[in-house]
């Protein structure tokens, strides 16, 4: 009996040692491989041959059958999607190569980018591939965390049961928009008319799927008007009610004028400017005198730039308003000097130069010294240079704009 107990003890303890040894060996193997970017990991690891099926068992031209097989064999959906996507790409590979036979031999200093027709044809084939994947996998085809990130706010107000319809509509109109812009970056008024018509069509298509309240919620998050407004109001910090009020007014203006493409005629420019002034007056009247003034200031591009710089330099928030006050004061005084017909040109230039010095003396300490001033001159402070009078030209009043040629 004692011998049996002794033997059992010895065998069991031996097995303890073996199993603990295996556990440690396994851990070490995992730790050694846990940094797959280490040079060791780049060498091919010889795993024991996988027992059972091989890829050739599943490499069939019948893709729905393949997908079903993979699902039955426990492949998770993201892997099924990857395999199906890979197989679909293979089926399109020959057509893609035929479109651009030079793709692999093209010298590295050249690109196919200037061939618009090729780009259009390639885009069409990519779209077909995506559609084939959707046909094969259904809603699973679009489930990706990366997609969700790039969709932004597109779906956060859409009821889940309507998301597929909304996604289909957006995809359709995104494709149609990209086709419109495919011939380079020309922005013609005809192109503008078609883009604005597409926007309206998309809105109508969404209205057929979403209730009026859902559509409003969608537009408040995703429309061009809402996006433009959020960017414009970054220094205004609106409440939800204020944002909704401004959105309503701005969307009426946008509905009337649409997005601007090409060079508007001077009559069109004047019409837009007059309507914009009217819009600003309406907004200020709605917000009241205090918030109206804050809106006007925050809506100014230079104010927003200054605000950004003040944040970057980690200066007190009120610095933006203080600099803005200096700018307003000096620009008003400069304007009075320029308008004064009794001033001889030399005196006018001298007085403006004094104002420019005053500007520099007042702004520099607010921005913490010369480093801040130098940064300000490139970020919101270009008005300081404009205080200095420009040299006269042969034609008198001249407006010079330069545009990059490359």
């Amino acid at each position: 009996m004692n011998l049996i107990v002794a033997l059992l003890t010895a065998v069991s303890l031996g097995l303890n040692l073996v199993l603990v040894g295996i556990l440690f060996a396994g851990r070490n193997a995992t730790v050694a491989k846990s940094d797959p970017t280490s040079p060791a990991a780049t060498t091919r690891v010889q795993a024991p041959p996988a027992k059972g099926p091989s890829w050739t068992d599943y490499k069939t031209e019948d893709l729905p059958a393949m997908v079903q097989q993979l699902r039955d064999q426990g492949f998770p959906s993201h892997i099924v999607r990857a395999v199906a996507g890979g197989r679909i790409r293979e089926t399109y590979a020959a057509r893609l190569r035929a479109l651009d036979p030079q793709s692999e031999s093209r010298p590295f200093w050249q690109s196919p980018g200037s061939d618009v027709k090729l780009m259009q044809q390639q885009r069409q084939l990519y779209r077909e591939q995506q559609q084939a994947l959707r046909d094969l996998l259904g809603p699973e085809a679009d489930q990706s965390d990366v997609n969700a990130l790039y969709q932004g706010r597109r779906f956060d107000s859409v009821p889940p049961e309507k998301a597929a319809d909304v996604r289909r509509i957006l995809r359709d109109y995104d494709d149609r928009r990209s086709e419109l812009f495919s011939a380079g970056s020309f922005g013609t008024s005809e192109q503008g008319r078609r883009v604005n018509a597409l926007e309206q069509e998309q809105r109508d298509a969404l209205a057929a799927v979403l209730s009026p309240l859902e559509l409003e919620a969608y537009q408040l998050r995703n429309s061009d008007t809402a996006r433009g407004l959020r960017s414009q109001l970054s220094a205004f910090n609106p409440s939800e009610d204020e944002f909704r009020t401004l959105y309503k007014l701005q969307s009426e203006y946008d509905a009337q004028f649409g997005r601007l493409y090409g060079m508007p005629s001077s009559e069109e420019q004047q019409r837009r400017s007059a309507a914009l002034r009217q819009l600003n007056d309406q907004i200020k009247a709605t917000l009241g005198p205090v918030r109206g003034a804050e809106y006007e200031r925050a809506n100014d591009y230079y104010f927003r730039q200054t605000n950004q710089l003040v944040n970057r330099l980690e200066l007190p928030a009120e610095t933006t308003t203080q600099i803005w006050g200096v700018k307003q004061d000096l620009e008003q005084r400069a304007s009075a000097i320029r308008r004064d017909p009794s001033l001889p040109a030399d005196d006018r230039a001298k007085q403006l130069a004094v104002l420019a010095e005053e500007a520099s003396a007042k702004v520099t300490p607010l921005l913490g010294g010369a480093r801040g001033l130098e940064a300000y001159q490139q970020n919101g402070g270009s008005w300081m240079q404009s205080l200095t009078p420009r040299p006269a030209t042969a034609t008198g009043t001249t407006r010079i704009i330069t545009t990059p040629g490359r």
């Binding site: 107990v5 097995l15 303890n16 295996i22 396994g26 193997a29 995992t30 491989k33 970017t37 280490s38 990991a41 780049t42 024991p48 996988a50 027992k51 099926p53 890829w55 050739t56 068992d57 019948d62 039955d72 064999q73 892997i79 990857a82 395999v83 890979g86 197989r87 790409r89 020959a94 692999e104 590295f108 200093w109 050249q110 980018g113 618009v116 027709k117 990130l149 932004g152 970056s185 020309f186 013609t188 970054s234 944002f243 001077s266 400017s273 914009l276 002034r277 600003n280 710089l309 970057r312 304007s335 480093r371 940064a375 490139q378 034609t395 001249t398 407006r399 704009i401 040629g405 490359r406």
Partner: protein, 439 residues
């Protein structure tokens, strides 16, 4: 209880527990003995074969609900093991790449979801935190994830990381790295990733505002990156790699494609351009008037040297191809099958018309009305010539977008500067004081 009995009981319990752990998670065992614990994996093929009753290669039937499906024998928390198993199971490089890329993406999901949550939780009336609104921190977070994913993929797959269905991996690699060995490519990639990460951090901290010290930091990182590359590549390899990866080459690809430059022409133009790279494309921040002036001077010097090297005719083609207006015209006209000669002829209307507009504007014998009238006529003549040269589709699109033409038609004059930039003069000013700009 006797101590011996206690030891035996404890030892047997420990054995049972350890065996249970290995059966539940075979991956805890080293690969050499793992198969002893993978009872489920072995069941799959034998369960499947009788069901299909024919070669699965030609007609894969629906599998029965197997107790241990195939994926269980392939999957592993360790990606290196997963790659090895997929290779052993015969997955071709492009499918392998797809699977591993998807698996890596799944492992990065929590970080992506965290970024998405941040976007979604920002109230819709607050400034847009999205990728498209210049959010440098978010942009860098995304870039960092992509860099890490690419590093992981390359580390796991080596050259197969380039295997994208339908693309020859060696051709893609050759285009990017020339004839570098795999080991050197791996080092170049690691150096590039490391510096991209450091530069990304500098850009994130900028919050959309470039200070002089930001430019200095970025320039320093560029110099250090080059020094690191120079330490592991031969001078010839470094020169070739830089030629392939340089922003100068990127910038020149479109014009060089339009003029169909030969390798000798590319190398000549590249060598002339390279010393001026940072003046022509400063990289970050606002372009000041001083920087614009330096760019104009540099362009003049570059053009002078290229003209001397290529000759008048090829230089004219090069210069035209670098103009963004011609690039747009080329894209539009190529799509409609308009010949290169017609594009050139239409584009060349601009120069003499601009010169004539300046002459009208400076003519002291003309009053304001006469000038406006003459400029309008001049624009009309130019427009007619463009339409007749480019045809009814491309002609109107080009004419409508030629800002210089619209400006002259509205009573202004245009001057084309040596670097291709244009200056516009209008008399009197168009906008009344205080008028808000159009949106």
């Amino acid at each position: 209880m006797k101590p011996v009995v206690l030891i035996v009981c404890t030892s047997l319990t420990a054995n049972a527990a350890l065996l249970g752990i290995f059966v539940a998670r075979p991956t805890l065992a080293p690969p050499s003995v793992r198969s002893y614990f993978e009872f489920h994996s072995e069941a799959a093929p034998s369960a499947r074969a009788p069901e299909t009753g024919s070669s699965a290669t030609t007609r894969p039937g629906k599998s029965p609900s197997v107790a241990a499906p195939w994926w269980q024998s392939l999957e592993s928390p360790d990606l290196t093991t997963l790659v090895a198993r997929l290779r052993a199971a015969g997955f071709p490089p492009a499918i392998l790449r797809s699977i591993i890329d998807a698996e890596i993406e799944a492992r990065f999901a929590p970080r992506i979801q965290e970024l998405t949550r941040e976007l979604n939780e920002t109230p819709y009336w607050k400034p847009d935190p999205s990728l498209y609104a210049g959010n440098a921190r978010l942009f860098e977070s995304i870039n960092q994830i992509y860099r890490e994913r690419a590093q992981l993929l390359r580390g796991l797959l080596g050259q197969d990381a380039f295997a994208y269905s339908g693309v020859d991996p060696s051709a893609a690699q050759q285009r990017q790295y020339g004839n570098l060995s795999d080991a050197k490519i791996s080092l170049v990639q690691r150096i590039s990733d490391d510096y991209a990460e450091m530069m990304g951090q500098v850009r994130t901290a900028m919050q959309g505002v470039t200070l002089p010290e930001d430019r200095e930091k970025l320039a320093l990182l560029e110099r250090e990156k080059r020094a690191d590359l120079a330490a592991m590549l031969t001078p010839a390899e470094l020169a070739d790699y830089e030629m392939r990866s340089s922003p100068v080459t990127n910038r020149l690809r479109t014009p060089l494609s339009i003029m169909n430059a030969s390798e000798a022409e590319f190398r000549t133009i590249f060598e002339i351009q390279r010393p001026y790279a940072n003046v022509i494309s400063p990289g970050v921040g606002v372009i000041t008037m001083e920087m614009s002036q330096q760019r104009r001077e540099a362009t003049a010097k570059i053009n002078e040297q290229i003209k001397a090297a290529l000759g008048e005719a090829r230089f004219a083609q090069y210069e035209r191809a670098t103009q963004s207006e011609f690039q747009q015209l080329h894209r539009l006209a190529s799509a409609e099958g308009v010949s290169y000669d017609a594009m050139t002829k239409a584009f060349e209307v601009r120069g003499p018309t601009a010169t004539a507009s300046a002459a009208i504007m400076n003519d002291r014998n003309l009053n304001a009305d006469d000038k406006r009238h003459a400029l309008k006529n001049l624009a009309q003549t130019a427009r007619t010539e463009i339409l007749s040269t480019l045809g009814p589709t491309v002609g109107p699109a080009y004419a409508e977008n030629a800002r210089w033409l619209t400006h002259i038609a509205q009573g202004g004059s245009v001057s084309i500067m040596p670097d291709g930039n244009m200056s516009y003069r209008m008399s009197p000013p168009v906008n009344p004081a205080g008028a808000a700009p159009a949106r």
